[in-house]
Every structure is written in structure tokens, then in C-alpha cells.
Amino acid sequence: MRRSNEFAVGLAVILALALVIGGALWLSETEINQKSAKYTARFRDIGGLSVGAPVTLRGVKVGRVEQIRLAPNEWVETDFSIDRDTHLPEKPAVIASSASLFGEWAANIVPLEPLPDDPILRGMLTEAARPAGGVWPGATLPDIGQLTAQASRIAGDIADVTQRIRGAFDTTALRELRQSVKDLAAISDRLVVFANQQTNRLDRVGQRVESSSNSIANVAQTFERASQQLDAATRDGQLKDIMDNGKASSADVRAAAADLRSVMAAARSNQASLVRVIQSADSLMQKIQSGQGTIGLLATDSTLYRETTLTMRQFRELLTDIQAHPRKYLKVSVF
């Protein structure tokens, strides 16, 4: 009976111990054969991070928080157990952040480089990254409570501003504001009428401006073409030739002018004799026209012309006959 009691009690105690120890190890995910490696990170403040909180890498749980302790120089050091098979970043850092709205926190492993954009986070990581003997730098994001408190402060500020606006806009201010709005509406109506009146004028001015602009554009195109031609002429040396030719022509013109000047001087010096010659020629021509003298008779009497014409005809006939019958008129004999 006694042996039976001892066996039953011993069995119950052993089973209970096994349950307690096994359950505790299983629930805390403790590994007997050390499949995980230990790392340490330091923070200025760990927020709501607690022992047992998950450690994640790119959102995947790779370990858990093992221990949290205060360290010198106002640091908080946190030990993590992380699966040995995990490929960690070359320079890891840890960011503790709220994992849900229900107070859960997680430690997220991130690469230290590049540093995050958030200046506060960047500052915390930079400070914690100073040489600390293999300890990872850590930073903490504000939790929901802090964000809610900040939002509450902002809401309070907005309420203050609203209250002040409400105080500033009393009944008198509202009446004046309504009157101002009415005045503004009247001014707006007048502006509409004025704008309608000015619209036609503005249209005409616009059309003219447009036509002027087109003309200027055409002139500009013409000028551009002329410039291109001038540029082409300049480029081919034609302008130089033209200039040379012009220069030579100018020299010729100058020489001709000089000759003309000398001719004119000679003519001026022989002007009296020339006048006399012209007068003599004039009187001669008058005599001829009047039929005086031989030339006058020749010029006014057609008999000579007819006889001359007859003589020429007979002469041509003679020449034709000579060509046709040369032996009739020429006889060549050597001996």
C-alpha cells in the first residue's frame, strides 16, 4: 500500500513538473539546443518594448526580446535571441515600435544604411550608432498614446482658435461682413457691365495687334530670307566679286567722267567755231532744201535718181551677161 502511494504521488509530481517546465519552455519559445544567437541593442528609451516581445525582420518574426536592463550613460540595453539561420543586414539597427493598437510592441531589425528619412529617428540611430562594442543602435517610434496626446494638443489648439474666431465675429462684425459682401457683389456687377463694354474694343485692338503681328512676322521672314541670301552670297565670295566689279566700274566711270570733262572743256573752247560751223551747215542745208546749187538740184530733181537707177540696172544686166558669156567679152591669149 505504501509503495503504491509513493508511486502514485511520485508519478503525479513528475508529470506536474514536466508539465510546468515543458509548458514554460514551450510558451517562452526557449530552445534547449541553442538554435538562436544573442544580440544586444541600446536605446535611449524602449517605449513599450517588453521581455518576450517579437523581433521581426522585414515583418517576419525571427526572434524575441530576452532581457531589458538599464545601462550606464542613460542607455537601455536590450538582449535579443534571433534564429541563427536568419540573414541579418550588414549593419543592423533596431527600431522599437508599437505593433498594434492594443499595446503590443515589436523590435524591428532594419539596415542602418541608408538612414531613415525621419530626422528624429535618424538622430536617435546616429547617436546610438557611435562605437559601443558590437551593440546595435536602437531607436523608438512614438506609440499610439503619444500620437493621441499630440493629436489631443492639436485639437485643443484648434478649439482655442475656433473660440477666438467666434469671439471676433460677433453680431456687429457679422452685420458689417454681410454689408461688405453686398458691396462686393455690387462692385462685381459693375465690373461685369464695364467688362462687357470694353470687350468689343479689346477685340478690335486684339485683331489689329494680331494683323500687325502677322506683318511683322512676314517682314521678319523676308528679312530672314534676305539674311540667308546675303549669308550665302557672303559665303560663296559673290559679294566680294560684286564689290570688286563695282569698284572697277566706279574707276571706269571716274575715267569716263574725266574724259567727258576734258571733252566738255574742248567743246567749250571750240564753242564759237562750232557755232559758226553749225550756222554754215544750217545755211548750207537751207540752200540744199531750196534747190540751190548742185547738191540742191540733186536733192530736189528726181531725174538724176531715175537715170542712176536705170544705169545700175543696165550695169547689173551687163555683169550677168558677162558671167554667163565671159568669152564674149574677155579673150585671154598667152601667145
Binding site: E6, A8, A12, A16, L19, V20, L27, S28, E104
Partner: protein, 230 residues
Amino acid sequence: MEAGRALGDVRTWGPLLFFQMRRLGVDSVPIAVFIAVFTGIVLALLSSYIFTGAVPLYFVGALVGKTVMMELGPVLTGMALAGRVGANIAAELGTMKVTEQVDALETLAYDKYSYLVVPRVLAATLMFPVVTAFAMAVGVTAGWITAINLLDLSTPEFLKGLRMFYQFKDIWFGLVKSASFGAAVALMGCLRGLGSEGGAQGVGAATTRAVVLGCEAILVLDAFWALVLL
């Protein structure tokens, strides 16, 4: 005081200890497990009813684990054992008292504390944590099975919640409490049993009183440990 002095009389209470451990502890395991099964089921269903909507359902695991390990496991087990063990001790010792068997022991130079009280109190103190450990394991397992089968919850989700807020303190806190419950229940049973007077009616009254005092002691100690250890 006298019971404390009797602790040194190991030769008297030593041979009786395993018998009392089996009677008060091992034989109480079935009732503790039975209570734990339904506690786990009810906790899982209640927590899913409470958490519907805003709170994620995997918190069922956290609530079942924390509640069973820290509170309901030790307290409900203690209450059940207060009825079973406390009543048993009070009735047994009360009967011995009113039938003058205790006087006979003293006549035979047996110290009543060493022979009757110490083995019972020690056995209850040592075995209540053992029974509670079984109750914890069964309660959590029952809640787990309920969550998987009756709730829209998977095993990884339940374990995520169970492990989320787990600390080793959760277990030893419950075990320490249950040890104190065992000592209190056994002491109340012994005190009321040895203090019973009259006949069967006196024994019945002592038994009832022992159970009531045992339950009250459990609740007071529960609050005490919560204040001291949490």
C-alpha cells in the same frame, strides 16, 4: 505554534506523508481536471464573445492563458479542493475528536499535531500546486481546442495570443498561490476538526465551517498574493 514545533517530529509524520499526499492530492486530480476543462471552454467562448469586433480574436489565447494560469486555475482548484479536502480533514479529525480517538493517541504518547495535522497540511501544501499544474495544462488545452473547433481561430493565432503576454511569472505565481491555498485549506480543516465538539452534529458543523473558512482563506490569500506579487 504547536503545529510548527511538530514539524521537527519527522519520524512521526514522515511515514504518513505519502498516504496523505495521495489521498489529498493525487485522488483530487480528476475533479480538478474536470473543473479545468469546462473553465477553459467557457473562457474561450466568453472571450470570443467579448472580443467580437474591435479586438482581434487572437487575444482569446492571451485571455485564456493568463486567466487560467494566474487566477481561475489556482482559485477554482483551491475552491474545489477546499470542499473535498477541507471537508474530508474536518470530518475525519472531528470524528476522531468526538469519539476520543485523539485522546487515545495522546494517551499512547502520539503528538496529535505531528500525527494528524502536519502530514495533512504538508501534503496539501505540496500537492495543491501539483493538482493546479494539471488544471492549468488542461484548462489551456481545453480553451485551445474550443477556440479551434467552435471559434473562427487557427492554432497559430491562438498560440500567438497565448505567447504574446506570457511570462514565466504567470506559472509560478499560480503555483505559489495554490500552495498557500493548500496550506490554508488543510489548516482550516484540521483546526475545525480538532475543535469539534458534541456528536455527529458537531462534526457536521465543524465540516461546514472548515469548508467555508477554507474558501474565505483562499479568497483572502488570492487578494494578498495579488497585492504582494503583481
